[in-house]
């Protein structure tokens, strides 16, 4: 088991009311597994992803990565974990201003005392693989949304993370670019990368080994789409309809 969450709970407070978003979720991700999380808006799927990826902390419950408890890590430790073991792909490309595309991709590797030439070669290789090698020296404003999303994937992969987290990675892309990005995820999965992805698109979810469904802060079920895409899509659609 590469990642394991036990009885995860999370609430958000505002001046008026306290909303419990996660109400005791147990979840596991095996090494090399591709898991999709589905659910309606407000079901808690993004919160769960944030907690599992250490972007947010649970109020209660425990979290383990490769058997090591990571629930309440020191800040430096958590940063190291995000930098070295996790990669993130967001719904909208989140780029750091005032840096070129190449610099953005290299950014998570700056703390490593790696050979700079090797890092640049690796970034170039990733960009080539993803098809954006021609925009390496461009500014962020000179790239399209699709190019930026791919650059975001390159950045997530630069340190060769053990788990790739993705929150609606195709949500803001046109269908062609979205398809290309999904192909990329499938390739990464085939290469043995563990992936945890939040989506509400059944086409996207159908590429996963396992689809988990959430409702009102609970995990309410899971299915394995299987090798038959058509059958898988049907099963997922039925599950979604029942939510």
């Amino acid at each position: 088991m590469i990642l394991k969450g036990i009885n995860l709970e999370k609430s958000y407070d505002n001046a008026v009311l306290k909303t419990k978003v996660l109400k005791g979720v147990d979840i596991e991700l095996k090494e090399g597994e591709f898991v999709s999380i589905m659910g309606k808006s407000g079901s808690g799927k993004s919160t769960l992803l944030n907690i599992l990826s250490s972007l947010d902390a649970p109020d209660n419950g425990e979290l383990y990565f490769e058997g090591r408890k990571i629930t309440h890590l020191e800040e430096e430790e958590a940063a190291k974990l995000r930098r070295e073991s996790f990669g993130f792909v967001f719904q909208l490309p989140k780029m750091v201003r005032n840096l070129s595309i190449m610099d953005n991709i290299l950014l998570p590797s700056v703390s490593y005392r790696k050979n700079k030439k090797e890092l640049i070669a690796k970034a170039q290789e990733l960009m080539k693989k993803i098809g954006i090698e021609q925009i390496a020296d461009n500014r962020i404003s000179q790239a399209s949304g699709g190019q930026l999303q791919r650059a975001g994937i390159c950045r997530a992969l630069i340190n060769d993370p053990k788990i790739l987290f993705a929150d609606e990675p195709t949500g803001a892309l046109d269908s062609k670019t979205g398809q290309e990005v999904l192909e990329l995820f499938s390739t990464l999965h085939a290469e043995g990368k563990s992936i945890l992805m939040v989506t509400h698109d059944i086409q996207v979810a159908s590429r996963a080994d396992r689809v988990i469904f959430m409702k009102d802060g609970f995990l309410v079920g899971e299915i394995k789409p299987g090798a038959d895409r058509k059958e898988g899509l049907k099963k997922i659609q039925e599950a979604v309809n029942s939510l």
Binding site: N50, D56, E75, K80, K94, R97, L107, S111, S141
Partner: protein, 765 residues
């Protein structure tokens, strides 16, 4: 609706509102205090001079006076309203002691007199004419303010004991920079101690019209009347000397006030632009729904105008509280005066003026609201990408790129640092300059370790020769020089004779700093003090004819120097003038480095009681003590203000940047940047900006600041000042304190960074 918006805006932006209000209140208060003090100082001096009926012209004289001739002179000059000849008994300070503590180490000339009969009254602290009873003495107020004596103490003049009954306000000799001090006693006591001192005469005139001063002065000299003493002292000089200490305070307040206005404007600019950025889209929506740009501008500016208005009023009222401590010195030396309407008017006009300047500035800034467009940013924050930075470490690249992307904001921040350095360094350099031993340069003498003053009355030629021989033989003495001060006649442009105080002696031994030109080194040259050159209308290169004995000697003016002593109108020659009576002898001495000034003083004071010995520090402390303390206090306030200002501005600036950067910080944290590395980025930005500000601030002080302060100081008679700085304090301790303040402010500014919810702020980006 405006009121509700305004209230909410102030409520939700407390820090910004407080910051703007704080600076406006401070700048208004400082300038209003300076305005009030200027009027009050002028009124106070005027009131004292009126009450005391200060002479319009004063000639000091030692020796006999031909009363008949004097009477004839007055009768033949109808411009003279009244005249009197006062006796003034010079008593060597070695004979004086307060409660047994000798005054021998003081450089002042202490004289005793009785109350003047016709004018030039000596007043008590209530402003009444003093009429001491037998056994009573009224002591110059300077000694009280210096903490040397209090009412009830005993003043002994050798064996004669007098009780200190009160203190004297002397319109001529009040100021610490006036070297003579008058004690007032009863006529019977005066007769008893007369044998202990040497009488000197004060020949005083009151004129119908002050404008005739120069005419009477010239006529007096032409008539060859008694004038064995320093040259004529005028009403104008009494005013200047009286205004010296408080004048410096007012100048410092004005400078600080003006600089704070600069800071307020920068703060407003910075806050307004940030706010504009925040509200721009909402304001654009208002425009889109048909609200006119003028109304939108009003809506936007209402809060700031409200704050500026309220703060100006608060600053105006605060100035009445703030001026109290500054008035204490004025009250002590000049007495209580009624607050005049003009003083309130000055404070009001200055407050209103500041409000107007702020309004105009805000109005100018808000002009960009005319061009409101949806989907645009108010403050263009360009994406900067510099290829040349790509090879730098990424953290450094991010920091440098941010400077370029937000250059206007950083320019504002650096400007505030520059001004802070300015605010602090100016009083600090005035303080270190006037407390430095080189400041004696501006008192007409070169730098020395010990100064020996021998007055004509106390001079004993044999003893003087013995002293000179001793000095020559003394291995502790590196060098010394004998300078004699004499009154020498010169011919004016109109052909009449006038007297000029000339210090003659080898000028290269103890060189002074010249405002223009150089020291007189040949026998055909003379240097004039600034006041003398103004009076004589002579500048460097002009010639002047001295009448020495029966000989007319034409000398070229080699240079102009600054001098506040002996009435300020003095000259210097390199050749010795033997003719005429020596009025004063000064022997500056430089000791070898290993020699002890204290030992030397103790030894010589015992052996040569007719001479007065003072080291530079004592001499300066006694003359400028009050001013030094005042400027020192201003420096302390400026230091506190500067550190507070740096703290406030940095915390505000970093807070704003941090709030704007939350989305970007969330991205950096999500890809593994630690809080430490983000803290370091903010620290680096603050430290870089502060370093640039300190560097630019010091360059500005060195170029513009010194010239500006020098010009202002020249208004009160100290010209050509070369500022002295304590390098450890100026270039190390102060920057270090500012750095600590900035670092602390940065920590406060980024409060919450470690607890920020990455996921939440990722959504914002």
């Amino acid at each position: 609706m405006y009121w509700t918006l305004l209230k909410n805006d102030i409520k939700y932006n407390r820090l910004q509102s407080f910051n703007i209000a704080f600076f406006i209140i401070l700048s208004v208060a400082f300038l209003a205090v300076a305005g009030q003090l200027t009027i009050r100082l002028n009124d106070s001096i005027h009131s004292l001079l009126e009450k005391a009926e200060t002479p319009h012209l004063l000639q000091m004289h030692t020796g006999e006076i031909n009363m008949e001739r004097m009477k004839l002179f007055v009768e033949s000059h109808p411009e003279i309203e009244e005249y009197q000849i006062l006796e003034f008994l010079n008593i060597d300070q070695s004979l004086l002691a307060f409660n047994g503590v000798s005054l021998k180490d003081f450089v002042y000339d202490n004289g005793f007199s009785v109350q003047s009969p016709k004018f030039d009254y000596l007043l008590d602290l209530k402003g009444n004419k003093i009429n001491p009873k037998i056994g009573e003495v009224y002591v110059p107020i300077f000694y009280q303010s210096a903490g040397l004596v209090k009412e009830g103490d005993i003043l002994s003049i050798r064996d004669h004991r007098l009780k200190v009954t009160g203190f004297v306000r002397d319109s001529q000799m009040n100021s610490s920079i006036s070297i003579s001090k008058r004690f007032i006693i009863n006529e019977e006591d005066y007769s008893s101690i007369k044998a202990l001192g040497n009488p000197e005469y004060l020949i005083e005139f009151r004129l119908h019209d002050l404008k005739d001063s120069s005419k009477i002065e010239a006529a007096y000299a032409e008539s060859g009347l008694e004038s064995n003493g320093p040259p004529f002292l005028s009403y104008r000089l009494f005013k200047i000397v009286n205004a010296f200490s408080d004048g410096i305070t007012i100048i410092a307040l004005l400078l600080i006030g003006m600089l704070i206005i600069g800071i307020s404007l920068l703060c407003i600019r910075f806050t307004l632009l940030a706010k504009l950025e925040e509200d721009y889209r909402e304001l654009a929506v208002l425009k889109a729904i048909g609200i006119s740009p003028a109304e939108i501008r009003l809506l936007f500016l209402a809060k700031y105008l409200f704050i500026a208005g309220i703060s100006s009023i608060a600053g105006f009222f605060l100035s009445f509280l703030l001026k109290r401590p500054f008035l204490a010195n004025m009250k002590m030396f000049f007495g209580e005066t009624q607050e005049s309407g003009l003083s309130y008017a000055a404070a009001f006009i200055l407050s209103a003026l500041i409000f107007l300047v702020i309004y105009l500035y805000m109005n100018k800034l808000s002009k960009r609201l005319k061009y409101l467009k949806l989907n645009e940013n108010a403050v263009e924050e360009k994406e900067i990408f510099l290829h040349s930075l790509s090879n730098l470490p990424k953290m450094l690249q991010l920091v440098i790129s941010d400077f370029f992307a937000r250059k206007k904001m950083y320019f504002t921040l650096v400007s505030v640092f520059v001004l802070s350095v300015f605010i602090l360094t100016i009083p600090m350099s005035i303080y270190s300059t006037i407390s430095d031993k080189n400041f004696v340069n501006y008192l007409g003498v070169g730098v020395y370790d010990i100064r020996i003053d021998i007055s004509e009355t106390a001079k004993n030629e044999e003893a003087l020769q013995a002293l000179l021989k001793d000095l020559e033989k003394d291995p502790a003495v590196d060098k010394f020089e004998l300078y004699t001060g004499k009154l020498v006649d010169y011919r004016t442009e109109e052909g009449t004779r006038q007297k000029l105080w000339i210090d003659s002696g080898k000028q290269s031994s103890f060189p002074i700093r010249y405002i223009s030109g150089k020291a007189p080194l040949s026998d055909y040259e003379i240097a004039l003090s600034k006041l003398a050159s103004d009076e004589l209308s002579k500048k460097e290169g002009d010639s002047i004819t001295l009448l020495i004995g029966n000989e007319e000697r034409v000398l070229r003016v080699s240079g102009i120097f600054s001098d506040l002593t002996n009435g300020g109108k003095t000259a210097k020659t390199n050749f010795r003038i033997d003719e005429g009576d020596t009025v004063w002898t000064v022997i500056p001495i430089r000791l070898h480095e290993s020699s002890s000034v204290r030992d030397f003083m103790e030894d010589y004071t015992q052996r040569y009681s007719f001479a007065r010995f003072a080291d530079t520090e004592t001499y300066l402390k006694q003359i400028f003590g009050n001013t030094i303390v005042m400027v020192e206090n201003i420096t302390k306030v400026a230091l506190a203000a500067c550190l507070f200002l740096v703290f406030l501005i940095v915390s505000l600036f970093v807070r704003m940047m941090y709030l704007k950067d939350r989305g970007q910080n969330a991205i950096l944290k999500s890809i593994g940047f630690s809080n430490r590395s983000l803290y370091l980025q903010y620290m680096a930005k603050t430290v870089f900006s502060l370093s640039a500000g300190i560097l630019a601030g010091n360059l500005l002080v060195l170029s513009v600041g010194d010239r500006l302060t020098g010009k202002i100081l020249s208004l009160i008679g100290v010209s050509g000042v070369h500022f002295v700085r304590n390098p450890i304090f100026t270039y190390f301790l102060v920057p270090f304190a500012m750095l600590l303040s900035a670092v602390f402010a940065t920590i406060i500014g980024v409060k919450g960074l470690s607890r920020m919810n990455i996921a939440e702020f990722l959504k914002e980006e």
